[in-house]
């Protein structure tokens, strides 16, 4: 009983860290541009497929492949911001951004399904199926490595945000776009790079997701609704909130799935969202959180 409990918590924390990475990208984009990127889910799947292609056809290790896939996804993110999002008018921007990224998502979903077919894939490597033995628990290596990767990348993200000149510009743009522009910050450039970073994390998130779960193009719908739930609970725009909510939600899901049933675990995921919002419309960690328009 107690062992099951601890195991579920460990599972939740390890997989939650990967969700934290993917959700951080999503909430970062919202924080700076007030854009909700519905395509984040399919971009994660695209990241997984890129790793799949590199490992199966070129024999490149999953983690080494990130050196290629992260820049590719970064460029794609900059492209989406430059080609589509920056051309949206200011009126009804959030709703329009949802529709535009939704359109991008279904185009990518159609294309991936066309290329790779509907059969489920899973990434493989020596560490995917092996486990390490720690204090009586068997931990699959991929979960541990994924956790470490997420911690490193989230650390890097924090470093960029709080210790660099660019991070300062980004946070300025997040607080007040107009004021940031007035003091000479190139807000368009900051937006493009932010979108790039927000999408780049999906390369890493997608690789770990693809190694721990079997996926096809349709997996993106479930993924994006989870990520959206997480960033709302965390208070939209708050990276710390997104990380906290990811770990919390995944731990809850693991506990429900251990002690009740895996079929209901996903439902509990969304039920928590509804209950929390009924009590506290700003999300769990939100202060300014669910911003007024």
């Amino acid at each position: 009983m107690v062992t099951d409990f601890i195991r579920a918590v460990i599972d939740g924390v390890l997989s939650g860290s990967v969700y934290a990475l993917m959700a951080a990208g999503l909430t970062l984009i919202f924080g700076v541009m007030e854009v909700i990127n519905i395509a984040q889910g399919i971009l994660v799947i695209l990241g997984a497929y890129l790793s799949y292609v590199l490992s199966v056809h070129l024999g490149i290790d999953l983690f080494a492949g990130l050196i290629i896939t992260i820049p590719v996804m970064f460029i794609l993110g900059v492209g989406i911001q430059w080609g589509l999002m920056s051309r949206l008018g200011e009126r009804e921007k959030v709703s329009m951004s949802i529709l535009v990224t939704y359109a991008v998502a279904i185009i990518l979903e159609g294309a991936l399904d066309l290329i790779f077919g509907p059969s489920y894939q899973q990434l493989s490597a020596w560490y995917v199926n092996k486990s390490m033995h720690v204090l009586g628990f068997y931990l699959p290596y991929i979960y541990v490595f994924g956790f470490l990767l997420a911690v490193v990348l989230l650390g890097a993200l924090y470093f960029i945000l709080y210790r660099t000149e660019f991070g300062r510009s980004l946070r300025a743009a997040q607080q007040n776009r107009t004021a940031a522009r007035l003091i000479g910050i190139d807000v368009n450039r900051v937006s493009a790079i932010t979108f790039g970073i927000g999408v780049a994390v999906t390369a890493a998130g997608g690789m770990v997701f693809g190694a721990t779960t079997s996926f096809n193009a349709n997996s993106s719908a479930d993924l994006i609704s989870r990520l959206l739930t997480i960033i709302i609970l965390g208070g939209m725009g708050s990276i710390g909130g997104a990380m906290g909510a990811s770990v919390l939600m995944l731990v809850i899901e693991a506990l429900v799935s251990t002690f009740w049933s895996p079929t209901w675990a996903t439902l509990v995921f969304y039920a928590v969202l509804v209950v929390v919002l009924a009590i506290r419309p700003t999300g769990l960690f939100g202060q300014k959180a669910v911003r007024a328009q």
């Binding site: 007030e34 909700i36 589509l84 051309r87 008018g89 009804e92 959030v94 709703s95 329009m96 949802i98 529709l99 535009v100 939704y102 359109a103 991008v104 998502a105 279904i106 185009i107 979903e109 159609g110 294309a111 399904d113 066309l114 719908a221 479930d222 994006i224 609704s225 959206l228 739930t229 709302i232 939209m236 079929t263 209901w264 996903t266 439902l267 969304y270 039920a271 969202l273 509804v274 919002l277 009924a278 419309p281 669910v290 911003r291 007024a292 328009q293």
Partner: protein, 362 residues
């Protein structure tokens, strides 16, 4: 601007003529085109015109984009299937009477969903409707009453004449469409409709001016679920077998949003025009292309193209262009000849509809 154009105008003779013509075209369509493949496409077109109109009646007029209206479609479909099966109702035209029942059950669901979702701001609302949608789809997969992934069988009227089998469904869809358009035509001219538009334009200000914001939003949300629930019931009856992912289908909301935006969001005519064109094309592609991926890609590209090049939709853009070219005095004549130039008016709706249906017949 929107508020000014909502002023009740007397219906011109031209518009009335177009409405009558449209009704006549819809009424005789299945008598002229007897091919079941064609009438099936027409049924879906009518159904999606009605549901897009309902989607627009909430989302387009309140400014709250819902991506969870498929919940009400699914609730309507399951209500229909469960009642028909549990009471062992005989398969026949009497089952059409279950459509309003399904609509009412969908409204009950809408009260529950709206009470939570409408507490939040617009963009959070969008996201919550997506979440709620997945809750309902998961319920469909996991509840015993819905029989999970194996779905529910709906009684099929096998004794109906095969040649005219689609006709009762067609006319049920036509009545649903007529009801929905009539409903929103009345709402658009009512004080309630104006309050809704005021919320879209500036919610805080509307509140300040004494609009009971919460009640208006929730009412509009619940009203719009009624036609959608009825359409779900009709869909279940027509298809004969429902599954969680075919009635709680995430593409439905995308379709409604796209049809509305293409046609012109916030207008009566827009969703009708978008619905009849896009749904017909989609059904046609389904029938002859049967490749869901290409259809997804085409859908996404059309969506992007419309949003960037015609963000207000076809009806207002074309309407303005026509009005600019002709003098205002000629507008009434044009309305009779060309299906109307007044984008905010009802004449355009039926005008475009009649035009498209007639074109389809060539």
């Amino acid at each position: 601007m929107a508020i000014l154009s909502a002023k009740a105008k007397p219906i011109s003779k031209g518009k009335a003529a177009v409405v009558v013509a449209a009704i006549a075209v819809i009424a005789v369509f299945p008598l002229v085109f007897t091919n079941p493949a064609v009438t099936e496409i027409a049924i879906f077109a009518l159904m999606f015109m009605a549901t897009s109109e309902a989607w627009n009646g909430f989302a387009g007029w309140s400014g709250y984009f819902s991506l969870g209206h498929a919940v009400f479609f699914g609730v309507g479909a399951y209500t229909f299937a469960i009642i028909a099966n549990d009471y062992k109702l005989p398969a026949g035209s009497g089952l059409f009477l279950l459509m309003p029942v399904a609509g009412v059950v969908a409204m009950v669901a809408a009260v529950l969903v709206g009470a939570v979702a409408l507490r939040t701001k617009r963009h959070t609302f969008v996201v919550i409707t997506i979440g709620v949608f997945f809750i309902f789809q998961l319920l469909g997969y996991n509840l015993s009453i819905t029989a999970g992934a194996s779905g529910l069988q709906v009684p099929t009227p096998y004794n109906w004449n095969a040649a005219t089998f689609n006709n009762p469904f067609y006319y049920a869809a036509a009545i649903l469409l007529g009801f929905t358009v009539g409903l929103y035509w009345i709402i658009r001219r009512s004080a309630f409709g104006l309050q809704l538009l005021a919320i879209r334009d500036d919610e805080e200000r509307a509140k300040g001016l004494g609009v009971p914001v919460w009640r208006v939003k929730l009412s509009a949300f619940v009203i719009s679920s009624f036609p959608v629930g009825m359409a779900g019931a009709l869909f279940a009856f027509l298809i004969g077998q429902i599954y969680p992912n075919t009635v709680f289908n995430p593409l439905f909301d995308l379709s409604w949003a796209l049809m509305t935006l293409v046609g012109g969001i916030g207008t009566i005519a827009g969703p009708l025009l978008g619905g009849v064109v896009l749904e017909s094309v989609q059904q046609y592609l389904n029938l002859y292309l049967s490749n869901a991926d290409i259809y997804l890609i085409v859908y996404g590209v059309v969506f992007l193209a419309v949003m960037f090049w015609m963000p207000r939709g076809v009806v207002p853009t074309v309407g303005d262009a026509l009005r600019r070219r002709r003098g205002a005095g000629e507008a009434t004549i044009a309305a009779t000849n060309n299906g109307g130039t007044d984008s905010s008016s009802e004449g355009k709706a039926t005008g475009s509809l009649a035009g498209v249906v007639q074109e389809g017949g060539k």
